[in-house]
Every structure is written in structure tokens, then in C-alpha cells.
């Protein structure tokens, strides 16, 4: 349980960081928020949902979802309306 507690604190810290990110210089916000979100999501997936113990394709389905989703969001945020 010590590990879970440490991870919980990490998640809170990353949340604070994400929130603060909005005050950063424009070019930094998106990469930072996405990176923090990726770590947070992966922590929840691996440790809270306990998928890291799982074998086979079912272990990778949710991480793949996260990766693909954040990747496409990152792409969408580089698009310019003009």
C-alpha cells in the first residue's frame, strides 16, 4: 500500500502541475499537459486498474486507447484553422 500512496501523491502533484501549466508560455501548455496526462493515465491503468499484472492483448487495450487518444489530440492541437 505504500506504493499506492506514493502514486496517489504523484497523481495529485501532476494535477497541480497541469493546472498551473495554463499560465505558461503558449507553446508549452499543450506538451506539458499531455505529458502529465499520459503519466497520470498510465499510473491509473497500470496500478489502480491493476492491468500491469494482466497477460496478453487485454493488458494493452487500455494503454493503447490512451496512447492513440492523446496522440490524436496532440495532432489536432497542431492544426491551424487557416
Amino acid at each position: 500500500m505504500k506504493q499506492a500512496t506514493a502514486l496517489w501523491l504523484l497523481l495529485l502533484a501532476l494535477t497541480a502541475l497541469t493546472t498551473q501549466a495554463s499560465t505558461l508560455a503558449a507553446g508549452m501548455i499543450v506538451p506539458l499537459a499531455l505529458a502529465a496526462t499520459f503519466i497520470k493515465g498510465q499510473v491509473v491503468i497500470d496500478h489502480f486498474m491493476a492491468l500491469r499484472h494482466v497477460a496478453g492483448i487485454l493488458r494493452w487495450l487500455v494503454p493503447a486507447w490512451l496512447m492513440l487518444l492523446l496522440g490524436l489530440i496532440a495532432y489536432a492541437f497542431t492544426l491551424n484553422p487557416n
Binding site: 500500500m1 499506492a4 495554463s22 497477460a55 487518444l69 484553422p81
Partner: protein, 197 residues
């Protein structure tokens, strides 16, 4: 959830999903739904960056951040609940679950206050595309928190009555998995809609 089929729990037989496989199918489908909605937001924004950025400015970022902390903490409590039942401590498991639900309720209350403020300011789903997503997605996630709490409540009551044991607690893991999914989705939703611009 009480239908304990022979799906073994991780510590019984490592390598399988925690909880009931049927719930995982539901979780996968839910993640797909949310994923499509998030991408719809991201690509709709790409076509109208200024409007989205200007509208996002009106959001209460602190409220969103607190809500994130609430859900993350409740998820952590659920982890503790699962740990307790693995040691056969039914009552402690139920207590952690109740604590997690209390945080879920706090999330809902804060969300209502936040929405209330927007509605009072005359903002609706028809205001513009950004607020359409903000309200629609927020409401859809809200309903998931409600459903998650119903599930946790069911599991908590059953745990309190001694319905699970160290050997057989698939139901707890099933409920826990759903709750973590609700948390995971919010972890993406918060930066996407409140922060990134």
C-alpha cells in the same frame, strides 16, 4: 455484480483481468464512446481555435482541478478497499468504499455548483460549440459518476454484510475497475477542456 462466475482474481491466478470479464467489455465500450467524444472536441476546436480559447477562459479551472483531485483520491481509496478485502477485512473494505463514495458525492456537488454558475450566466449548450461540448461532455461524465457510485454503493453494502471474502471478492474488483475507468476518463477530460489552449 454478485454473480461470481469462475473468473479468478489476479492474486489467485495471475495474468487475468481483475473482476468480471463482462464489466471489462463494458469498460472498453465506454472508453470508446468517450474517446470518440474527446476527438470530436479536439477536431472541432481545430476548426475554430479562437472561439474555443476565448470560451475556455470563462471556465473555473480551480473547480476542475479540485474535482480531479477528488476523483483521484477516491480512486486511491478504492485501491485501499480492494487491498482490505484481499486480507478478508470486510468492514474496512466497506469503510474505504464509503469514503470513496463521499468524494464522488463531493465531485457531483462541485460540478453542480459549476454548472449552476454557467446556467445563471445564461450559458447553454446552444451558446457555442465549445460550451456545447463543455456541458454535454460534463453531463455525460456526471452520469457516469452517478452510475459508478450506485455500483460502489451496492458493493459496499454487500461487503459490510460480509458478502465477500479474501478468497472470493470478484465483485469488489469489478466495481473498482469501473470506478477507475470513470476516474481515468476525467483525467483526460480535465486538461483537454479546462487547460489546453
Amino acid at each position: 455484480m454478485n454473480i461470481a462466475i469462475a473468473l479468478p482474481t489476479p492474486q489467485d491466478r495471475p495474468g487475468t483481468l481483475p473482476g468480471d470479464l463482462a464489466m471489462w467489455f463494458f469498460i472498453f465500450a465506454e472508453l470508446l464512446v468517450f474517446g470518440v467524444l474527446f476527438l470530436a472536441y479536439a477536431f472541432a476546436r481545430a476548426r475554430n481555435v479562437e472561439l474555443f480559447d476565448a470560451s475556455q477562459h470563462n471556465l473555473d479551472r480551480l473547480s476542475g482541478a479540485i474535482n480531479t483531485a477528488l476523483l483521484i483520491t477516491s480512486s486511491y481509496f478504492v485501491v485501499r478497499a480492494v487491498d482490505r478485502i484481499r486480507h478478508g477485512a470486510s468492514r474496512a473494505c466497506a469503510a474505504w468504499l464509503a469514503a470513496a463514495m463521499a468524494l464522488g458525492a463531493a465531485f457531483l456537488a462541485l460540478k453542480l455548483v459549476e454548472f449552476g454558475g454557467k446556467f445563471a450566466a445564461g450559458i447553454t449548450m446552444s451558446t457555442n460549440t465549445f460550451f456545447m461540448f463543455y456541458i454535454g461532455l460534463g453531463f455525460f461524465h456526471f452520469m457516469h459518476v452517478v452510475l459508478g457510485m450506485v455500483i460502489l454503493g451496492y458493493v459496499a453494502v454487500k461487503a459490510w454484510q460480509g458478502g465477500y471474502s479474501a478468497a472470493d471478492h470478484t465483485g469488489v474488483e469489478t466495481g473498482a475497475s469501473y470506478w477507475h475507468m470513470v476516474d481515468l476518463v476525467w483525467i483526460v477530460l480535465f486538461p483537454l477542456i479546462y487547460v489546453m489552449h
